[in-house]
């Protein structure tokens, strides 16, 4: 049984058009700069009107061009979001810059 800790899908350009192609499902996502450095890890939770589609549409509108994203449809979006944040911190020693501005209560993980 393999358990995938990290999001490793290919990056997609963060544009309104690309966001509009997303499913209206719940899940988690990452935003990165043009070089692939992760800037933010977010979640599309139960109050998102169209799940990942509306969250990424909002991100595209607020951030403008030049950034990338990838998503994971996941009904366990809360625990998966916490996990991605903790794995990122374990890998890089700190949270992504846009999460660090308002950090959630986090534990520590030392993935093997």
């Amino acid at each position: 049984m393999s358990i995938r800790l990290r999001l490793d899908k290919p990056w997609r350009p963060l544009t309104p058009e690309e966001a509009a192609r997303l499913p209206g499902q719940l899940g988690v996502y990452q935003i990165a700069d043009a070089q692939g450095a992760i800037l933010y890890i977010g979640q599309a939770g139960g109050r998102s009107p169209f799940g990942l589609r509306s969250e990424l549409a909002r991100e595209a509108e607020e951030r403008g061009p030049g950034q990338q994203f990838r998503v994971e449809v996941n009904m366990q979006y809360r625990s998966r979001w916490f996990e991605l944040l903790m794995v990122h911190k374990a890998d890089h020693g700190e949270l992504p810059p846009d999460n660090a501005k308002n950090p959630p209560p986090l534990g520590r993980l030392s993935p093997a």
């Binding site: 939770g45 009904m75 625990s79 986090l106 030392s110």
Partner: protein, 388 residues
């Protein structure tokens, strides 16, 4: 036994009920449906209110500064505290405070200074490390984590799974095998600091309960001193077992609280909703579902209060605790399921708390000893202790 609340108990019940309805539920309307935490400012404000109510630290014994609430009253209040969306696993979002793990009250004076008192002051969080990948229902046989003697201490090697809060805790209680030849008499309970070299929180374990996760732990040549033994060497199983039995009573109460909330929603909906020109409440199929809900709730409440009353009197309550846990978790699941059915499509949505209760209530038939283990406990009691 008379389970009618006394005047004093009723006052407390009303107070907590008002708190849930006026303080917790309005805040929940703004949170993610799977949220497990309040905004820190809201949490601090509500803690001040529970302090003013004299109910903060509700599980702390009186001699340690707690409000001196007996277990029967505690059950009655736990039923109230659970009656909101997050209430099954995070009753009132922890605004009534916690007491940490029951076992730590059995610690020696030095351990109390280092662990118990900081926990009661809210400075340290803790975890309970019992279940292993090899099994959870039969810990006496399934525990494979080993603790071996070395340099006036012990070296732990092994793994634990389904452990809540280990990633955020400053310390935890861990059970390990110290004598492989003695079965349940070869298990010792240790207190372990989370920053001990060789202690690792390896991963999040995702479950139906997205609001909160469990973790998997690894102990790799993790050395701890003799001062970290809780109780006596090779007598850890009794510590674990006592906790598991005692914990079943409030665990049952939480299930009852959620069942009551779901049932009340179903009654209200049935009176309001019409199909084919008739209120749902006028249809026998729906009436019978509501009647079955009522019976499940009353049954679970009766057995849970009976267990609590026996515990309060200092009588043996092992079988009663199992019956309470069994009837509340299984009956609670049926109540939530029927209530969803009565709500139709709306019952499946995240607009209502029913779907979260449905997912979380399912876990209750496994957590704190699965239904089958509770039945084994009861069977042994009625058929004889040498039953295999």
């Amino acid at each position: 036994m008379d389970f009618e609340p006394s005047e004093e108990q009723q006052l407390l019940i009303d107070q907590v009920r008002r708190f849930v309805r006026e303080e917790i539920i309005p805040l929940e309307a703004k949170l993610d449906p799977d949220a497990a935490e309040l905004d820190p400012a809201d949490h601090a404000r509500l803690v001040e209110k529970t302090r003013a109510m004299g109910l903060f630290g509700i599980d702390i014994p009186k001699e340690y500064g707690g409000p001196d609430i007996d277990i029967v009253t505690r059950v009655l209040l736990a039923i109230e505290m659970a009656q909101h969306r997050a209430g099954l696993y995070v009753p009132c979002y922890g605004t009534f405070g916690g007491a940490g793990l029951a076992q730590i009250f059995e610690a020696n004076d030095d351990q109390k200074e280092r662990y118990l008192y900081p926990t009661l002051r809210g400075e340290k969080k803790t975890f309970f490390g019992l279940t292993e990948p090899s099994g959870g229902s039969d810990p006496a046989r399934a525990i494979q984590t080993r603790a071996e003697r070395k340099d006036n201490g012990w070296v732990l090697n092994g793994a634990k799974i389904f452990i809540s809060n280990a990633d955020r805790a400053q310390y935890g209680i861990v059970f390990a095998r110290t004598d492989a030849s003695k079965g349940r008499a070869g298990i010792t309970c240790f207190i372990i600091d989370s920053d001990t070299p060789g202690f690792h929180v390896r991963r999040v374990v995702h479950t139906l309960r997205s609001s909160h996760y469990a973790t998997e732990l690894e102990f790799k040549d993790c050395w701890i001193s003799d001062h970290q033994v809780l109780g006596e060497v090779n007598k850890g199983f009794a510590v674990a077992n006592d906790r598991l039995t005692r914990q079943r009573i409030p665990y049952a109460a939480g299930c009852i609280g959620v069942a009551i909330a779901a049932h009340e929603m179903a009654i209200e909906w049935a009176k309001m909703r019409s199909t084919f020109g008739e209120k749902l409440a006028n249809r026998q199929a729906v009436q019978w579902m509501l009647v079955d809900n009522e019976i499940d709730i009353r049954t679970a409440k009766h057995f849970t209060l009976e267990a609590a009353e026996k515990a309060r009197r200092g009588l043996p309550f092992r079988i009663e605790a199992s019956i309470a846990k069994l009837t509340a978790s299984e009956g609670g699941g049926r109540v939530v399921d029927r209530s969803m059915q009565i709500h139709g499509g709306m019952g499946m949505t995240k607009d209502l708390p029913l779907e979260r209760w449905y997912r979380e209530m399912r876990i209750r038939r496994v957590g704190e000893g699965p239904s089958e283990v509770q039945r084994m406990v009861i069977a042994r009691e009625i058929l004889g202790s040498n039953l295999r």
